[in-house]
């Protein structure tokens, strides 16, 4: 059974139709990569899953339960975390406050916190700093840390490597690989090199429609398909 099932999702933003019927299944475990060019509708897909836009018609099924039309907070409580493209860091809050806000009870599970320190040592270093003073890479780490401070079944991550230095991208890939051992990740990415090193399954979205689904291995092998679907972003 798939963890997340999206069927015929159509989303309008204002008067513009952005998604024209997006369907794909995210199986449990590993990293699922959603590829596509700028403006293809990747971010809108994630936001629609999160309930930040309301798809109509269309349905989102998570662990066999229909979550379409639920309030964003309700969807989050079902076990989905969201790391938006702009990272959504609260700049006026300290690193600690950013993290404690993401816990359900307002106190830390020490074991999980320790794991976060190991994944991202910078978090511990800058613990009492206000988040706006962090570098772009540190902010991204904080955003990911915030998504895993509570046990979640699925993390939606939107273009985490955008604008980051290569060394940080490598560290990020390492962290994602480790996180994916226990949590499913739905990754939206334009950096194909980064995506193919992580992804197990994948889908390509174009002009608000899914135009290809399959495994990453097959996609990597088929150069012609890559050329056709990603020519502009590769």
């Amino acid at each position: 059974m798939s963890l997340l099932k999206i069927e015929n999702m159509k989303t309008d933003i204002g008067q513009y139709a952005v998604l024209h019927g997006v369907s794909f299944d995210v199986p449990e475990g590993g990293v699922f990569v959603l590829l596509g060019r700028n403006g293809a509708g990747k971010t809108t897909t994630l936001r629609s899953i999160m309930g930040l836009w309301t798809p109509s018609p269309g349905s989102v099924t998570f662990r066999g339960e229909d979550i379409t039309g639920l309030h964003t907070a309700g969807i989050a409580r079902k076990g989905i975390a969201y790391v938006p493209e702009n990272m959504g860091i609260f700049g006026g809050l300290t690193v600690e406050e950013n993290l404690i806000l993401a816990t359900e009870t307002g106190s830390f599970d020490q074991a999980r916190l320790k794991r976060i320190y190991e994944l991202f040592p910078a978090i511990e270093t800058f613990w009492t700093k206000q988040a706006w003073s962090l570098s772009g890479g540190q902010k991204q780490m904080l955003a990911v840390a915030r998504a895993i401070i509570e046990p979640r079944a699925l993390i939606l991550i939107d273009e985490p490597t955008k604008g980051l230095a290569p060394s940080i991208v490598a560290a990020m890939a390492e962290a994602f690989r480790e996180i994916a051992e226990t949590t499913t990740i739905l990754l939206v990415e334009q950096n194909f090199h980064f995506a193919k090193s992580l992804g197990r399954d994948m889908a390509v979205i174009e002009d608000g429609r899914v135009v290809h689904t399959g495994t990453m291995a097959d996609f990597v092998a088929d150069k012609a398909l890559q050329e056709r679907l990603l020519s502009l972003s590769a």
Binding site: A76, A81, G88, F90, A102, E104
Partner: protein
């Protein structure tokens, strides 16, 4: 220049403005005793305006909702408190400080209680349907303001109403040739207490953490699993209760109130939140103190210019900092 601004920033940055204002006024007024009286009056007025403005600022910061009807809470607070004080006239006149204080507390509590109920009603009936539509929001809250003013006129009539103060808040403290009205000190202390309370609420509690985060990025707080809209009702109700409290205090300060009070205060409140920067309590306090001091100093130095001076002050600050002195981080 760069160095100067850094030094200024270290000593408090924009928070130095009220002090600078006070120093300039001291030189221009020349008479220390008048200056002290005016400064105390300015601080007291600033604190009362802070009560009225804080809710408006927070509500805007959290939900991008600007309630033009906010001043209705101020007027209602004033009139409710005045009515309660009038009804408890016997207690007010008595020599017992306890009865005095009890009447005052009851009056303030009634205003606050009214603010809570009216705020809840306002949020759920008037504002909720137009959360994301600024144009209709401005129009609807304006409409609600018109209706509220008419209701006040219908209930209390158009003639000015005298507000009775409790005996123990009458009179003044005299130090040499300086006299300081007791009520002003009381207003200042109460305002300061509310500010400290709000500060603790925002910085030391989980709710406060959620509010601060929500002001910055509402969607992200929801994506973390919290219902901002429920939080918002709470903040809205708190804001209207504080506005009503501010109105009640103001009624006791001016001792003669008319239904135009709300509209008059609304202008001041708007200037305060624009100067201070929407969405932050510190900014609102700063704006309120600056406006309070300016109004009193100018009122003494050049009475005809007092309202225009606040307007000019606002324009000047907007040119310098288009988002106000201390806006919330966005």
């Amino acid at each position: 220049m760069e160095q100067l601004s850094q030094t200024l920033e270290r000593f408090g940055g924009v928070y130095l403005l009220p002090f600078a204002l006070a120093v300039v006024a001291f030189i221009m007024i020349g008479a220390p005793s008048s200056w002290v009286t005016l400064t105390v009056a300015g601080l007291a007025m600033g604190m009362m305006v802070f009560l009225m403005a804080s809710g408006l600022s927070l509500v805007f910061g959290l939900m991008d909702v600007l309630n033009f009807g906010h001043s209705a809470f101020v007027s209602f607070g004033a009139f409710v408190a005045a009515s309660v004080l009038a009804a408890l006239g016997g207690w007010l006149g008595s020599d017992s400080v306890i009865l005095n204080a009890l009447a005052l507390i009851l009056a303030l509590l009634s205003a606050v209680a009214f603010g809570v109920v009216a705020g809840w009603f306002f949020e759920s009936v008037i504002i909720k349907p137009v959360y994301k539509d600024h144009l209709r929001q401005i129009l609807i809250t304006m409409g609600a303001l018109i209706v509220s003013e008419q209701v006040i006129l219908a209930i209390w009539g158009g003639t000015p109403i005298t507000v009775h103060r409790p005996q123990f808040l009458e009179g003044a403290f005299i130090f040499g040739d300086v006299s300081i009205e007791v009520y002003r000190v009381f207003a200042f202390v109460l305002g300061l207490a509310v500010f400290i309370g709000l500060h603790v609420l925002l910085n030391r509690t989980r709710i406060g953490l959620l509010i601060r985060a929500g002001v910055e990025n509402r969607e992200m707080v929801e994506s973390l699993g919290f219902r901002i809209d429920r939080l918002f009702i709470g903040v809205f109700v708190l804001g209207s209760a504080l506005a009503a409290l501010g109105g009640a205090m103001w009624a006791g300060y001016v001792t003669l109130i008319t239904p135009a009070l709300g509209a008059e205060m609304m202008i001041v409140v708007f200037i305060v939140v624009i100067i201070g920067g929407l969405g932050s309590i510190q900014g609102t306090l700063l704006g309120a103190i600056i406006v309070g001091l300016t109004a009193n100093y100018i009122g003494y130095l050049a009475p005809k210019l007092s309202l225009a001076s606040n307007m000019l002050l606002m324009m000047a600050i907007l040119m310098w900092r288009p988002n106000g002195l201390r806006p919330a981080v966005k």
